[in-house]
């Protein structure tokens, strides 16, 4: 397979937007970079920018490997991506509003009704609820990859509790600290105002009539894999980081327990899944949530961000319909590509998938984090047979896509600098009429040679992402 290289063109020439960096890299002694890499590792450890890995020893924390070679995106490409994401997220929010109100898109037959209404992520409790500004996914993490000749594809829309933005910010801080001279030479668009932008959005979607809303970040706690990010964002926004046990509901209003007594909470940026939010409505065994919070939410006395029930729009079984949503709600042609997807619940698709397992990527419809997927070309016969049985047993639990030839980028690895595959997750913020994002995102890189799985839980690393200004 031929892969698109972010730095070099097919003839081995350096791409225009990488020329400055490449010249610098060639002129910089290897020992200096090695020293800087060690410095970065040490700093990340000391600051405690770590994540916990599920299934490993409790409380154990790992660093996400940071690569010092940036992923550079020229201005023109970013502008195209930006308008594409804006279009996509706008349509997804309109879809959610529609699904939880009149369901016009189902009536029009654009999406089979049972695909939505029987989906575990569809929340009947949200039916008829008017969320502020009509926005459900205030924060969306859109996973984008580049494949083939360099065209971009949306791989996934993360509309529940997308994470990783703290790494985007910390990676930039680290790069500026390690190599300030590079920023003097390049016009790298800044990203550090993300927390401000986020706070502004969260305040904008407060319940009606609240002039100075109290915003909090709700975390499952210090042992969650993304705890660093929760505490980082709360600190950067200057708001309280709360756990479920810090909150209680009285008269359909949410309060937090403070040293001065109960204080009303208006907007909750929650980093807990729907299922755990309210033991009275969802999982009764959840100790992470707040009993009664859903009633307070339905009464319009508190805003949850993201809204309950967004999972129905980012589910892998709904993904193939996003281009149709864009056409239906906006009357526009989608500008970002979807990856062609086989829906195994369809008989013909299933037959095709079973015949081509060795070439395809198979994903669990409700899976996330790179767990429960098969990358055909990189799998053993046993693994493929195992998935064949899974597919036959539960075809509607899976989708399949062609294995994309993900682009790669030079990366420091043990044997020196070598190309590794990567993706990009920009964070799209919405409130009312306004959809914004900071120029950049989180670039994840698969550090294992040939691997196409970039998730940090699967040994992926990150790179600083530079959007160059004109």
């Amino acid at each position: 397979m031929n892969f698109y290289n972010e730095m070099y063109d097919a003839n081995g020439g350096v791409r225009e937007h990488y020329k400055g960096y490449e010249t610098w890299l060639a002129a910089t002694p290897a020992e200096r970079i090695e020293r800087k890499r060690a410095e970065a590792d040490l700093a990340f450890h000391r600051v405690g920018i770590t994540f916990a890995v599920y299934g490993e020893e409790a409380g154990k924390e790992r660093l996400i490997p940071f690569d010092v070679i940036p992923r550079i995106i020229p201005s023109k490409e970013w502008k195209a991506l930006q308008s594409g994401m804006r279009q996509r997220v706008t349509a997804l929010n309109m879809f959610l509003w529609d699904i939880y109100h009149d369901q016009e898109i189902l009536k029009a037959g654009k999406i089979p009704a049972e695909q939505v209404l029987n989906n575990a992520q569809y929340r009947p409790v949200m039916q008829g609820i008017d969320v502020p500004g009509g926005i459900y996914a205030h924060i969306a993490g859109v996973d984008i990859v580049r494949a083939g000749e360099g065209e971009f594809y949306v791989l996934e829309d993360n509309l529940r509790v997308p994470s990783g933005v703290s790494y985007m910010l910390e990676d930039r801080k680290m790069m500026m600290r390690l190599f300030p001279e590079l920023f003097a030479k390049h016009k790298v668009a800044p990203v550090q105002h993300y927390p401000d932008m986020l706070l502004e959005k969260l305040r904008a979607v407060a319940p009606q009539g609240i002039a100075d809303p109290t915003v909090v970040v709700l975390t499952p706690g210090a042992y969650n894999s993304a705890y660093f990010e929760h505490s980082f964002l709360a600190q950067q926004m200057g708001v309280e980081l709360v756990e479920g046990r810090d909150l209680f509901v009285k008269n359909d209003t949410v309060y937090m327990r403070t040293t001065q007594g109960p204080q009303r909470v208006d907007v909750i940026y929650r980093r807990i899944d729907d299922d755990f939010m309210d033991p009275l409505v969802f999982r009764a065994d959840s100790a992470l949530g707040v009993p009664g919070i859903l009633k307070a939410y339905q009464a319009g006395n508190v805003t949850l961000s993201n809204a309950i029930g967004t999972g129905v729009a980012d589910d892998k079984s709904i993904y193939p319909y996003v281009p149709d949503m864009i056409r239906f709600y906006l009357g526009e042609e989608p500008t970002l590509n979807n990856v062609p997807t086989y829906m195994c619940r369809k008989k013909d698709d299933l037959a095709y998938v079973l015949d081509h397992l060795a070439e395809l990527v198979v994903k669990e419809v409700h899976g996330a984090g790179g767990y429960g997927m098969l990358v055909g070309p990189a799998s053993t016969k046993e693994q493929i047979e195992h998935f064949r049985q899974l597919l036959i047993a539960k075809p509607d639990g899976y989708i399949a896509q062609p294995t994309l030839a993900l682009s790669n980028c030079p990366t420091f690895v043990e044997e020196g600098i070598a190309p590794r595959h990567l993706d990009l997750r920009p964070f799209v913020l919405s409130s009312g009429k306004c959809v914004n994002m900071v120029p950049g995102g989180l670039t994840r890189v698969a550090l294992t040679k040939g691997s196409l799985v970039v998730n940090s839980s699967q040994g992926g690393g990150t790179k600083d992402t530079w959007v160059l200004e004109d």
Binding site: R46, V47, G48, A222, L241, E243, D246, R257, G261
Partner: protein
């Protein structure tokens, strides 16, 4: 401020303070054990440390003999002993981790790297490198945490709860050290000759040796040691100094239901402010200190109920 946040800050500072005081006490006991003395006397000093922390049962479950090496192992590095220096540093870091957004970067990095370094030190390594160096290290790390707190943290509620934790813990620790050592040194309350080295060690364990010299310019007597550690207004580890700070910080965080706790703190402070050492010794130092420690415990309980997570719920 969130009650839970205040709770973590309070306990974070208590655990650092506890680690420091324990390091001081072990250090002094270690040093005096090097001065020629009977084995019985030496082991008595080590046993006192176990008694001081009410750990007799936990200790007996692991070790049969009370001697320097066993007690050091138990109090320095034992992961199962929740009162060991190792555990205190871990708990301080865990509490800090839960509220790292409230701490300044400097404070968090200090506590985090203290724990990361402590985690790497096995008991054998500590002993080989010299246990005195380790105690010195603990004291320096504690000073560093206090320094970054005072030097970088906004002096708002968070700061007041941190100070409350530090001062309450220190009052308790000083009282315990005095109680146990006094008892060991004067088992029958006799007025006989006092052992300069032993009393000097007690003073040094609370950084009070030089202070004593400065204040009294005279030989060391048990009464004055007690007076210095209980009643002196400016000695930073005396009970009076600690309680004065507790009252001040409580006033700064007062809420609508903290009146009773305030009253109790004020009452205890006034006993120290206007008390005389003769009267305390008349009651009997051990009796007096036991009552003091009970009241410190009740104060901690009151603070938890009024502001933090009540201790009964926290367990």
């Amino acid at each position: 401020m969130l009650s839970r946040t205040a709770d973590h800050l309070f306990w974070m500072s208590r655990y650092i303070e506890r680690a420091e005081n324990l390091a001081r006490l072990l250090d002094v006991t270690w040093q005096t054990s090097l001065v020629p003395q009977s084995e019985e006397a030496a082991n008595q000093s080590w046993a006192a440390i176990i008694a001081l922390n009410s750990l007799e049962e936990a200790y007996a479950a692991k070790y049969s003999a009370v001697n320097g090496e066993n007690v050091l192992r138990f109090m320095v590095s034992d992961h199962d002993n929740y009162a060991s220096i190792h555990s205190c540093l871990r708990l301080a870091r865990e509490n800090a981790h839960a509220v790292r957004g409230t701490l300044t970067t400097e404070m968090w990095e200090t506590l985090n790297s203290t724990w990361l370094e402590a985690r790497e030190k096995s008991f054998e390594q500590i002993m080989n490198a010299g246990v005195g160096d380790f105690f010195e290290w603990v004291k320096v790390r504690s000073s560093l945490s206090r320094g970054t707190t005072i030097g970088t943290l906004l002096q708002d509620e968070a700061f007041h709860f941190i100070r409350l934790g530090t001062l309450l813990e220190r009052a308790d620790n000083t009282a315990r050290i005095l109680d146990v050592k006094y008892h060991v040194l004067r088992p029958h309350g006799d007025e006989g000759a006092t052992d300069f080295y032993q009393w000097g060690a007690l003073l040094r364990s609370v950084s009070g040796f030089e202070v004593y010299r400065k204040v009294y310019r005279d030989v060391i007597t048990p009464e004055r040691v007690a007076e210095l550690l209980i009643l002196h207004s400016d000695m930073p580890r005396s009970l009076r100094f600690c309680l004065s700070g507790v009252v001040k910080n409580l006033e700064l965080v007062a809420n609508s239901h903290s009146d009773e706790t305030m009253r109790q703190a004020g009452l205890l402070y006034s006993q120290l402010r206007y008390g005389r050492i003769e009267d305390i010794l008349k009651v009997g130092l051990h009796t007096w200190l036991t009552d003091f420690m009970d009241r410190i415990y009740l104060l901690g309980d009151g603070i938890s109920k009024d502001f933090l997570i009540p201790m009964s719920e926290a367990a």
